[in-house]
Amino acid sequence: MAHSTRPMTDWRKAKLPVFAFLAPATIIYTVFMIYPLLDSIRLSFYTSVSGGDLTFVGLDNYRTILGDPGWSATFWNAFWNNMKFFAVHMLVQNPIGIALAAVLSLPQLKLRNTYRTLIFMPTMLSVVVVGFIWQLILSPVWGVGPEILDIFGLKSLFGPWLGKEGSALITLALISVWQWVGIPMMLIYAALLAIPEDLVDAAVVDGASHFEVFLHIKLPLVLPTIAMVSILTFVSNFNAFDLIYSVKGALAGPNFSTDIMGTLFYRTFFGYQLQLGSPTLGATVASLMFIIILVGVLFYLFVVQRRLSRYQL
């Protein structure tokens, strides 16, 4: 073997092209992702005294937000609201997405592409438009909601859901579900299409019903996709801001009952109405959001994903 004494690749020669190919992605990612992230974390360790000069204060900002009675009540309120927001998505959006995908993948379904497009349509609408449409529909004064319910004789059930502390957050979460349910549906539908026909036929010959085929054969095979959809839901829910801002404004009323991490960050950083903004405290809230999402993603990567079996089909 003539080459056995030399390494297969001469790295001294290979260096230049390697760096040349890596550079664009590395530079863009560093300038627009890593640097802003690190700088905003750095900012959270400072405070601006009068005049705008920054002073290093260590973890004081974190102590303020998590320890000061006023701040901590606001923070934990936003955190738990965000958890509820996430829970509604997990319990409503993803099961509906799975069910729609399962129905879409039935071979005898007619007009498959029409349904798929219609269900996916709201995803393409601007969040501001969606928020506005639903505000109009649900308005107790001039909304069409009560009239629509009246068709089914259910008008008595109607309430000013967006205006009540107890129901506003859940209503907003359901609006978000209505808009985004197409995404889990499409991802799971794609995973279902990848399942070989043979497996389904084999289960049918063995006497499984459609539902049993789904439960025993298809669901285990799309679990990795469902887990991925869940973590994507988690990340996007904890970064959510736009729908609540467009429907309720940054005060996330009534009485902060729809306040989530995104709206809390907005008020803290930029200020709202009479409240002054503080970039350093805002950066602290942003860093806490980053930590929450990081914990969730790490849990997924190191606990959930490792326990899920992926099968060779």
């Binding site: 036929d201 084999a202 289960a203 010959v205 063995d206 006497g207 499984a208 049993e212 285990p220």
Partner: protein
Amino acid sequence: MADQFDLECRNVGKNFDRFVAVDNVSLTIPKGSFFSILGPSGCGKTTLLRMLAGFQEPTSGDILIKGKSVLGVPPNRRPVNMVFQHLALFPMMNVADNVAYGLRRRGVDKATINRKVAETLARVGLPDSGPKQISQLSGGQKQRIAIARCLVLEPAVLLLDEPLGALDLKLREHMKVELKQLQHEIGTTFVYITHDQSEALVMSDQVAVMNAGKFEQVGTPQDLYYNPQTAFVASFVGESNRWRGTVGETTGDYVAINLDKGGVILADKAAHASLPTGQDVEIFVRPEAIAIGRSDAAPDPVPGNNSLTGTVENVLFNGAASSVQIRETATGHEMSVALPQTGAFANLRAGDVINLAWHASQTRCFAGVLPSGIEGGQS
């Protein structure tokens, strides 16, 4: 006696819109036999199998299993089970759960399930594999588990859709023998679909050769090989040397066939009595029917013998299945001839000139001209 047949098709047809996938097929399969349906891809054999399994309903005709019509009966209520091309074992279940799945769906009690699963795994020779995951099995073991999963439901007929297709060559050769052995031991009727003629010939009691939705010929492997009834069967089953020609004049017991490219080949008159003089024909001669001799040793002049000379182009050495490609001197036709296994021609080289001879009874002619491109299945 309809009840001695496990499976019977009466004039079964299947159309997809205007395309005829299966055209008026009738067959009877006796109990406990190994029946193969052999045909090129797209000939309708998988459609036929899916109709037997109940995944598709025939457009016309009737399918009877154990003498009872199964039209309109869903797949799981038919006494048939199916081994799929890619086996379709459930990867999320272990071996025992795979085998038990059908019994569970039928609501069999747990003790019976465990007993039957253990029995069936023992029957296919893998008694200890129950707790194993599917990914831990070898290709041949998966095959046997796929069969076990079907057998545990005690079907009257087991349908197999090219189950050896995904295996590598060596394992495929091995599994052919094993499948035949297994079928012999358990006695269930097997209906086996394949495009590989060697699988069909080796394993089957009866083979149906299918082409363009129709059965060309049904018979024992020997029948198909030695007495093909159509040009398609002759070309699809086994290797053949092929010529085109027209029927010429008759001398004694033999009829002369004039080749399009020049030259004459003799054939038995009795076997080709239906062919009128002047008819266009396809001529087939098996490579192993041709005897070869050194050019210095002229063959004995046997009456009715065809004798040609040719130049060796390639020697394809493959142990017992060795052959030699020869260009015929007079017509320039390329021929393939099997080498005798005695080793007498071990020193044959390209460029050598040799004599070729075969008896007229080994020549087969079929009226009409086949579209080109249909070649025998490779073994």
